[in-house]
Symmetry: C2
Subunit: 240 residues, 2 copies
């Protein structure tokens, strides 16, 4: 994207690891042309779609979560610009799996058949898409392991390091920080903790001079120690 034109968030993301041809960029831009608005706190439902669709987040943050029958919420992931959202619902409607905006934003609606076309007509782009989706899936698995086998502190550290990496990839983070619209309730529901304990853990990290959050700005003070604490390892799978 040396020409500086905007071909959509997905193109931006994919460009970071493969060089997209002019044609492929056009295809991606066209794919993301149908856009909808996304409001903070608003639940996204795909009712009334005549054909199966997927969503690609263009700007803002979203969150996908499950509601437990006792009222508790478990956040599965926070889609960021360039990420697919709700691609699972392409084929099926998971009963208690929801999607909502963390901030205002924009998403594009993609016809599922259009995606399949890409696999046929532009295989290289297709495998890039597959890579991207696989990466998202690997992150869910990571998240599962994190909740199951890491302490609250390790989980928190791991979570923010992963967020840093994802945001850097799409140019929304510097080497040492980023803007983060997540409050402590959202963090709690994502990490399987109580909001109060999230606060305590954040204080510990602050007092150990590892990282801090102030007014929605995350600042990393000692990434090396933080990575050691979280036993962090890059999420990016190696391409075959």
């Amino acid at each position: 994207m040396a020409d500086g034109k905007n071909y959509g968030a997905l193109a931006t993301k994919l460009s970071t690891f493969i060089n997209l041809s002019k044609h492929e960029l056009e295809v991606l831009a066209e794919l993301q042309s149908r856009q909808i608005r996304l409001a903070r706190g608003e639940e996204l439902t795909e009712e009334g779609q005549s054909s199966p669709t997927a969503l690609i987040l263009q700007s803002g943050w979203a969150c996908s979560y499950k509601l437990m029958p006792n009222g508790a919420r478990q956040i599965i992931r926070f889609p960021l610009p360039g990420d697919f959202m709700g691609y699972r619902s392409v084929l099926l409607r998971a009963s208690d799996h929801f999607l909502c905006g963390v901030t205002d934003g924009i998403a594009s609606v993609v016809d599922a058949r259009r995606l399949l076309d890409i696999f046929r007509s532009s295989p290289r782009l297709g495998s890039a898409l597959l890579w991207s989706v696989s990466r998202d899936e690997a992150m869910v698995v990571d998240h599962l392991a994190s909740i199951g086998r890491r302490s609250a502190q390790e989980r928190m550290a791991h979570f923010f390091l992963q967020l840093l990496e994802r945001l850097k990839l799409i140019g929304l983070a510097t080497e040492v920080g980023f803007h983060c619209p997540l409050n402590q309730y959202l963090l709690a529901d994502a990490l399987g903790l109580s909001a109060i304990h999230v606060n305590r853990v954040l204080r510990q990290l602050r007092e150990q001079n590892l990282m801090s959050i102030k007014a929605g700005e995350v600042a990393f003070h000692d990434i090396v120690t933080l990575e050691r604490l979280a036993a962090y390892r890059s999420i990016d799978p190696s391409l075959d």
Copy 2:
């Protein structure tokens, strides 16, 4: 499969919710023709494959897990006969994600291109496959939510109810029980608990006359109460 012939575990599984034509059955049988042996405790690696492949479990139980740098293990799922295993590795090699046999068994090796062919040549079968894989994915998400937001008892109850449902689907469970090769260490690593606590929780469930395990045989004594306890809801997503 009214003719009683064996077209592979995947065919058995898919047959339970769509009627497969003779031709589709043949395609599935051919797909699963290349088989490998799987030994209890043996790690499966797909090294040396000339082209990307997926695995379908035919018999026995397997388990896919992540190893944390501190040595802890988090089991992601237990593939059962008819389930895809390691389809994620089709495109990428997740660094610390492993697959191993819980029991001896057999798996078939499928060339990824062969799968793609099916989507083209037999769309109905393709969408059945997609349904099956989506279901597996939904189960991982369920598992995540379970570990994040359920108590140890609820988790245990949920886990076994889900297992019951999956095993019934492939004819490996009765209405009230099944054979289960999982020991308390495996349960612990799956549920994000310590092995000792698993033992205590199982005792509680036994003393409450909800379910019991003896010599690898799981027996459900009060499924209704168990479902209430686990806030269980069927994993099967509705097809569009």
